[in-house]
Structures are given as C-alpha cells and as structure tokens.
C-alpha cells in the first residue's frame, strides 16, 4: 500500500511546525511566540485580532495552542481535542498570488501536489463576538480540511483597509494526514536523532486532554466562574471608560496616551471569553442566557478594538 509520503520521510509533529515556520520566515514573516493566555483560536491572539486593525503592514506567523473546552473528549475520541495547535499566518496586505505561496508551503512539508486532490471550497469566516468577518476558503486535501484561508474584511465592527490575509493550518490534522494515521494520539511528535526512538502525541499530551476535559466538564466551579466573569468584565469596562478620558486629540500627556493599557483590557476580554467557554462546557448557560452573555463579551472585545484603533491613530499622528 503506497502511503501519502513514505512513512520514513513523513515529518514529525515538531518538524512540521519548524518547517512551516521556516517557510514563512523565509517569506518575510516575523515569527512570534504563542500568546500566553487561553484563546479559542489563533485569530483571537492580539497578534491577529488587533494587528489587522489600522494601516500598518505586517507579516507575522506563530503557532497558537487553542483551547475549546466543549470539544474535549477525555482523550477518548481519536479526532477531537480540548486543545489543538494552529499555525497562524497574517499577511497585511496579502501579496498577489498568496494562494501559490500557500501551496508552496504544502510542498515544503512534503506534499506532492500532483498526487493529491486539492480544492479551495468557499468557507466564510465570522466571529460575531469580535465583530469580525471575512471571506475565503477551507482548503481540502483528499477530502480533509487542512487549512482555513480568510481575507479579513471587518474586525471589531470596523472596515479594514488594507485588508489582511489569514492562513490557519490545523497542525494535528496535517500531521495525521502526512503520517497516515487514524488517531491524533498516534502522531509521532518527535524522533530522537541518536536512537530513532519516537514520542507520540498521546505520550506528550493525552494526560492534558484527560484532565482538562474532566476540569471543563466535571470540576470547574460554576459559581466561581460566574464571579470570575463578572470581575474580568468589570475591570475591562473600567479600562474602556478610562480610555475615553485618556485617548483624546492633542492630549497634554502624549506618554499617557502611548502607555494606556489597551492590551491589558484585551486580555481581560479574552479571560471573559474563555470563562464563558468553560461555563458553556459545564452546561451552565441556557440557550437564552447565551445570547445575553455573548453580547456582554462582544461589547468588551469590540470596545477594545475601537480604542486600539483610536490609540494607534493618535500615536501615529504624534
């Protein structure tokens, strides 16, 4: 039976990450580290969500562990994870022929395009809580969705100009594909160059899946989570209110404008978002409440995006 690529040559999980990072670095991307806060997707990292705002061009790539408490399966389902890893590439503005560049990156990880079926199928992205949407595709490789490709159009309720191109690789799925495996947990994470000894994804991460699934579904304390949500929200709102006083035209104190902690406010909003996801996984949010709580979080996230754009404008002018 021929394999996707010869098994010996298939990249390990960590080689896959290096290769893609190297590829994008060689194409001018700044490699950023994963954001050190719980996020549900690479898009929510400030390196994407906030940096796509405003006129400043950026090219940035980073791996982002993404937590989705409700997707956990105690490590028992071979295709679902509480925490998966995305490789996020943001190109503002997107270069012409960005699709070809993306396809080259697939070649770089060992995919012979002539021997696979690749389709760009319409898949528009929307994150209502962030007031963000874009159009694009899911990239299908032999029937497997391996990448989400999006041209951001709006973020934080604001039209973008220039727009950004976002390429989100699902690393586990790609590794599973390359290594031709039925279970994520069998992915070879690393191979000792000296001994050839392999470490699997399961050996590295299974216990996290087991424990975090249990935490999200069974242990997380609902009253505490509600309290956390309220505290984070209150602090974020207070900062948003302060921003109105500080971020003004011709401020007498330009340094105060520069130092205003919009990024801090954003982290508080992200905390709310993750807390909401935990409450959701605990089944503590009814369908009706859901709409209300989401509106509260949207208020925070869109509010932060607005002051980020304003701060950027004021400091660029100064």
């Amino acid at each position: 039976m021929p394999s996707v690529v010869e098994k010996k040559k298939a990249l390990t999980f960590q080689e896959l990450l290096f290769t893609l990072q190297r590829f994008w670095a060689e194409h001018g991307c700044v490699l950023q580290q994963p954001y050190d806060l719980e996020v549900g997707a690479g898009t929510m990292s400030p390196d994407t969500f906030l940096r796509v705002l405003g006129p400043k061009p950026i090219s940035i790539a980073y791996a982002q562990p993404s937590r989705r408490p409700a997707d956990g399966r105690y490590g028992e389902n071979p295709n679902r994870l509480f925490r998966h890893t995305q490789l996020q590439v943001i190109l503002k503005p997107p270069p012409e022929r960005v699709q070809e560049l993306y396809l080259e990156s697939l070649v770089a990880i060992g995919i012979d395009l002539a021997q696979h079926d690749i389709k760009f199928e319409e898949d528009n992205w929307e994150w209502p809580v962030g007031g963000a949407w874009g159009v694009g595709w899911q990239v299908m490789l032999d029937g497997q969705e391996i990448t989400q490709f999006t041209y951001f159009q709006q973020c934080g309720g604001m039209d973008l100009d220039p727009i950004s191109g976002e390429i989100t690789y699902g690393l586990e799925r790609i590794a599973q594909f390359l290594q031709d495996l039925d279970s994520i947990y069998d992915i070879v994470w690393s191979r000792d160059p000296a001994t050839g000894a392999e470490l699997t994804y399961g050996q590295v991460r299974l216990h996290e899946e087991q424990q975090f699934s249990a935490y999200s579904f069974d242990y997380a304390d609902v009253p505490s989570l509600w309290k956390h949500l309220e505290l984070y929200e209150a602090e974020c709102l207070a900062l948003l209110a302060r921003a109105k006083e500080v971020l003004v035209e011709e401020s007498p104190d330009p340094l105060q404008v520069l130092r205003f902690p919009t990024l801090g406010a954003y982290e508080l909003a992200l905390k709310c978002s993750h807390t909401f996801n935990l409450l959701d996984a605990r089944g503590a949010i009814s369908v009706t409440e859901r709409v209300g709580v989401m509106a509260r979080i949207r208020n925070l996230i869109v509010g932060v995006a607005k002051i980020y754009a304003e701060q950027g404008r004021l400091t660029a002018a100064a």
Binding site: A114, H116, K119, P162, E289
Partner: protein, 697 residues
C-alpha cells in the same frame, strides 16, 4: 468579422455563485455589443466558467461602429451672405463642419432659410468601445457576497482578480479592471499545468488551448464528463449504482477544472448506522456520492470527484486519504450513536427542562407538555369526525419529540433533528407510530418536502408549530415586513400544507383554538394565516390572485375544501357564460353597495307577490332552484358541477338586467328587488365570491 473573447481569471469563486455569474457576464456583454452597434442581429455566443475563470466568446463582432451622417444647421442665409458674399458667420460654420462654403446646403425651415452641413460622425473602433465600456459591465455583476482586496478599496468583487484576457480576433483589447490590464495570457490548471501563463492565439482556439492545459472550461462538458465517470467507476461494483443527486453533481462541476472520479470503500460494519446519518456525512460534509445496490440499499462505497487526473500513483494515495477522513467521520457518528443510546429518549424528557425554548415561553420540557395537550385536542376533533388515530401514540410522540435535542448526534448533525429522534425511538423499541411521528415532525420543511406520512405525524407537526406561533404572537413577536427571526411564516406555511394536503379532518379554527388564544391574539392569528393561505394557493397551487381572493372570500376554515373550490373556479373561469355571470355578480354587488350607501337596506326575505316583471319572477325561481342544487352538490364537494349550475343562470340573469330596473322609484318594489339580488348573491357565493374574478383585459 473577428470573434471576441473575454476571460476573467480569479481566485476560486464559490461554486454556488458561478452559474448565475456566467450567465450574467454573457448577457451584459451581448447587451453592450448590441447597444454599441458592434454586432448584427443575434450573434452566436458562448459562455464558460471554472472555479478560476469566467469567460464569454461572441462570434462575428464588428471591428468598427458604423459611421453616422448627421445634418447640422448653421446660420440663417440672410446672415450668412451679404450681397452674395459669405460673411464670417458662414465661413466659421463651414470650417466647423469641415467643408468649403461652397459645400454647404440651404434648407428651408418655418423660420426661413438656413445653411446646413452634412457631418459624418465616425464610429469608434470596437476595441476602443469595449475597453471603455466592458469594465463597467464586469463591475456590475451581482455576487451574493463580495470582498475588498486592494489597498484603498477601489473595487469589490467576489474574489481577487488575477488576470484578464481579452481578444478581438488576433488583437488584444486592452481593457482594465481591478488593476489588471487585459492581455492574451491565461493560466491552465493549478497543479496539472506548468503554472506559467500561456498565450491564447485566437478566441477560436481558446477552449482547445485550455483543454491542452487541463482545463475544461465548458461547464456542460465537465458535467457530462463527471456523470460518465460516475457511471464508469460504479460499474466496477456488480449490481450497484450511484445515487442520483443533481445538486451535488452541480456543486462538484463548479468545484473542478479537470474532474475525475474515484471510488472509495468503507467498512460494511458502518452500514449498521442509520442511512440518513451516513448519507448526510457523505453528501453534506464530504461532497461524496452514495452508492446503492439494486434494491436501493446503501452499499459500503462512495464516489468522490477530484480536481485532478487520476493515475496509478495518485489513485491509491487519494483514495486512502478520503477513506481515512470518512472513517473518522463515521467513527464520530458511531461514537455519538452508541453514546446517546445509553440514555434512552424516555430518560431524556427531564433533561429538556434545562434546554430553554424561549425565555418567556419556558423550556423544551414545558413546550413538549403544551404540544401534547394541543395534539390531544386536535386528535379528539379528528376522531370525532371519523379519523382513525392512535391517541396514545400522539401523546407519547409529543412528549419525546424534542428529546433528541439533548443528544450528541443532533448537536453534530443539526440538520437531522427529528429524524434522529425517530431513529432512536425505533431502535429503543418504541411503537412504530410513535417513532414515525417523531421522525416526520419537521415535515414539510420546504416546498419540495412531502407532508408527514401518518395522521399522528401530521398532528404532532401541526401542534408543535401552532404552539410556537401562538406563543410568539402572545408575546407580540410576530413577523413584520422582512423580519421573521423565528421563521413563523415558514411554520405557518407548513401547517397550511398539512391541513390542505393530508386527510386529517381538521379545520384551521380547530388549530388556532387548540392554543386557547386571547381574543386579540386570535384575530391576529387569523389574519396571519389568511396571508399564508393566500401565499399557498398562489405559489403552492398556482392559482391566479383573483381566483384566490374569490375562493377565500367564501371561507378559509376548511383548507382542503378551499383548494377544491379554487381549482374548480380556475377550471371554468375561461368559459364565456362564467365570465358573464361573474360580471353580473359584480354588477349586483355594486348596485347593493350603492343602495346601501343611500340607506336602502334590503329586507332579508323576498316577497314573491311583489315580483312584477316576468324576468324577475324567472330569476327568483331559477336562482332559488340553483341554490338548492348547489347546496346538494357542495355537500358532495362536486364544485365543477355546482359552477356549471351557476353558469347556467346566465340567461335569466341577463334577462333580468335587460328588463328590470332595480332602483324603482317605488320603495317597496325597490326594496324587494334589492332583496332578490342580495339573496341570489348570498346563495351563489358559497363557493367563491365571483365578483372578485377579473373579467376584462
């Protein structure tokens, strides 16, 4: 005359938008060419599309617009010449017109003689016109979803434009759109071609050259290739056929430039899962065709349409990849199926208490209890009227109907809610009547769907929807204008269809009353349903608006009866007698309305002793005889015959209006004649208000 070609190269356009965009580009291009006099008559034209391009080819385009001679009027002769010598005014006009003064003519007008010149308006070249005008047409193409991509946002289009090719014969038409200037270069297949652009020699060679670079630009050619390949590949399995799915063929045609078909397999053990789940995974999630045996039973194979030529190296690789993906999805489904069954539906009823239906209408547990009560009431009506029903099954189905909302399988495949509940009910040993009613509860979800198979399912579906509608109306959350966030119109459409198309002996008023609405809510519900019934008769039954109005005026409570009446009216509306009678009814109605406005209210009884004219005596007799005949026929629902009886009244009605003056100066005679008209109208309008039928024009 040269041929014209335009190709717009794009990043992958959404499959669902291609067909209409291709047609629109063709229409716009032909419209422009005709408007600019660049074609003679209706030229032969073709349009093409793939995910990466839209193209139009027009045969025989003029290279030049025709010249037009125009006559321009200059100065008056008496100003233009002084003593036979041209004045500066004449010379200036001649110069402007590009002729010598001697070349000017004199024309006579009502104001006197004037100088005139014939000037030639040169036609522009086709290239010039197209370069100027065609970009506007391209920009105006409708897309369901647009995007910006260039800095400064100069234009919106479906996806970034990558190249333009535009040729008139051998020549490039250098039009510019979205920052691209057209040349003769195009690109082949993303992977199978070299990736380098190549030059289109002439419009004529376009299709063949693309085919050489692994692009079938003609959509129909691709569709046929896919169909043939599906047939061919399926032949490898004895007695099997692929399951026809026009929408899916369409989708994959628009997803490929060089399609091929691959047969994959899955383990037969997955066939233990319900077919509905397997097919949903294959079709909706993977765009795979299902394969069935000669009995229509699902076989453990699937077909995927690739966008690449398959050979002995790629086939096993691509097959293996697709099989692994499908296995993972089926495994997920199986995991959910087995996991969900650990908690039977009967144990999930209490879980519905935690699922909010709507904040003021309570949880799904509360909704289910209400629906059970409503369904019970409807069942009682139906049984009283002789319908055989399993009342116990209805109650049980109503209480279990929403329990599948708590299952993981429905969370994963929301489009299968109801169906999954029905499947679980069957698999958990509940009676078939209960399982089928749950399974069918959301039917019909669209105009194409059938109605529930059983009366129990029809009652459950009706009860569930009227509970939602009446609940929302009670809260004042009824649809307004284009806003219908709870899809109440669709819910009401489904109720209307069930009442009209099932054999349930249930009236609309039964359905509305079963929710025990307050009076003002009931009035609003009736008005809301009247709109939906009107919509159903026009769109669902194809009835003309006047027939709908006429039939609805005679009652909307019994929907099957209403449909029968409307159809009968449509069947006779073309006949001359019927039109004449309709016109006469309109006349009667007008007379009565005008009389009423003057304070003439007719008595309810016709006094036969006051009928003087033989014509009015005759009408009284024939109309009364017709009324009893119609009553009998209506009981048998023989509306065709009843309408023939009405049409047969034409001679006596005509005679009446010829000979009798209704508005007699004598009060008692006049009142009696009005009473006769009123009675006749009332008696004969029980099928439809014929005065609503449009008779002229």
């Amino acid at each position: 005359m040269p041929d014209f070609l335009l190709e717009i190269g794009l990043e992958e356009v959404p499959a669902r938008m291609l067909a209409s965009a291709q047609a629109e580009l063709l229409k716009r291009t032909l419209g422009l060419l005709a408007r600019e006099q660049l074609v003679v008559g209706d030229p032969i034209a073709h349009s093409y599309s793939t995910p990466r391009r839209l193209a139009v080819l027009v045969r025989g385009v003029l290279t030049q617009q025709p010249d037009i001679t125009e006559e321009t009027t200059g100065p008056a002769v008496k100003i233009a010449f002084k003593d036979g010598v041209p004045t500066p005014a004449a010379e200036a006009f001649a110069r402007k017109s590009g002729v010598a003064v001697s070349g000017l003519k004199t024309i006579s007008t009502s104001k006197g003689d004037y100088l005139a010149a014939a000037t030639l308006k040169r036609g522009r070249t086709a290239a010039e016109v197209l370069a100027l005008e065609l970009p506007k047409e391209i920009a105006a193409i409708y897309w369901a979803k647009n995007m910006y991509w260039r800095a400064g946002k100069p234009e919106r289009f479906v996806r970034p434009v990558l190249w333009l090719a535009c040729l008139l014969g051998d020549e490039i038409v250098p039009l510019t759109f979205a920052g691209k200037t057209a040349g003769r270069a195009t690109y082949g297949h993303r992977v199978l071609s070299t990736g380098e652009p190549f030059e289109i020699v002439t419009p004529h060679s376009y299709l063949a050259q693309l085919e050489g670079e692994y692009v079938l630009a003609d959509v129909e050619v691709r569709r046929q290739k896919i169909r043939k390949a599906l047939d061919h590949v399926t032949r490898a399995i004895p007695n099997a056929r692929w399951r026809e799915d026009h929408a899916l063929v369409d989708a994959v045609t628009h997803l490929t430039e060089w399609p091929d078909v691959l047969l994959g397999n899955f383990e037969a053990s997955y066939l233990e899962l319900p077919e509905e789940v397997l097919v949903t995974v294959m079709r909706d999630h993977q765009k795979y065709f299902a394969v069935e045996d000669s009995n229509g039973k699902l076989a453990p194979h699937f077909l995927t349409v690739t966008n690449i030529a398959l050979d002995e190296i790629s086939t096993p690789i691509i097959k293996q990849g697709n099989e692994r993906v499908l296995r993972a999805r089926f495994n997920d489904a199986r995991f959910f199926w087995e996991f969900d069954q650990r908690t039977p539906l009967t144990n999930r009823v209490k879980l519905l208490g935690n699922v909010t239906f709507q904040k003021d209408l309570g949880s799904y547990a509360q909704k289910s209890e209400r629906v059970a009560v409503i369904a019970q009431r409807l069942a009682t009506f139906a049984i009283e009227r002789g319908c055989a029903l399993d009342e116990k099954a209805i109650s049980e189905a109503a209480l279990l109907a929403k329990t599948d909302l708590t299952t993981d399988l429905v969370k994963e495949f929301t489009e299968l809610q109801g169906i999954i509940g029905g499947l679980y009910a069957r698999s958990q040993g509940l009676p078939a009547t209960v399982a089928d009613a749950i399974y069918d509860q959301y039917l019909p979800a669209s105009a194409k769907d059938t109605i529930p198979r059983s009366p129990e399912g029809a009652i459950l579906g009706t009860a569930d929807r009227i509970d939602t509608i009446a609940g929302m109306f009670r809260l004042g959350m009824e649809p307004t204008g284009s806003k219908d966030p709870f899809a109440l119109r669709r819910a009401a459409n489904s109720i209307v269809r069930i009442l009209a198309e099932s054999s349930l002996p249930i009236l609309l008023s039964d359905v509305i009353d079963s929710t025990t609405p307050a009076q003002d809510t009931e009035v609003r519900l009736l008005a809301f349903f009247a709109e939906r019934i009107d919509f159903y008769l026009r769109e669902g039954c194809d009835q003309a608006y006047d027939v709908v109005k006429a039939a609805m005026a005679a009652g909307t409570d019994d929907l099957r009866d209403l449909v029968a009446r409307a159809e009968a009216v449509t069947a006779v509306r073309g006949s001359e007698d019927f039109l004449a009678v309709s016109a006469a009814f309109k006349r009667m109605k007008n007379i009565l309305t005008q009389a009423h406005a003057k304070g003439d209210v007719p008595p309810s009884i016709v006094d036969h002793d006051l009928l003087l004219d033989p014509a009015e005596k005759l009408l009284a007799v024939t109309a009364s005889a017709a009324a009893s005949a119609i009553q009998e026929l209506q009981r048998e629902r023989n509306y065709g015959e009843a309408l023939r009886v009405i049409a047969a009244l034409r001679p006596s009605i005509d005679d009446f209006f010829d000979k009798v003056m209704v508005m007699s100066p004598e009060d008692d005679i006049r009142a009696n004649r009005l009473a006769l008209l009123n009675r006749t109208l009332e008696d004969l309008s029980r099928i439809a208000d014929f005065s609503e039928i449009v008779t002229a024009g």
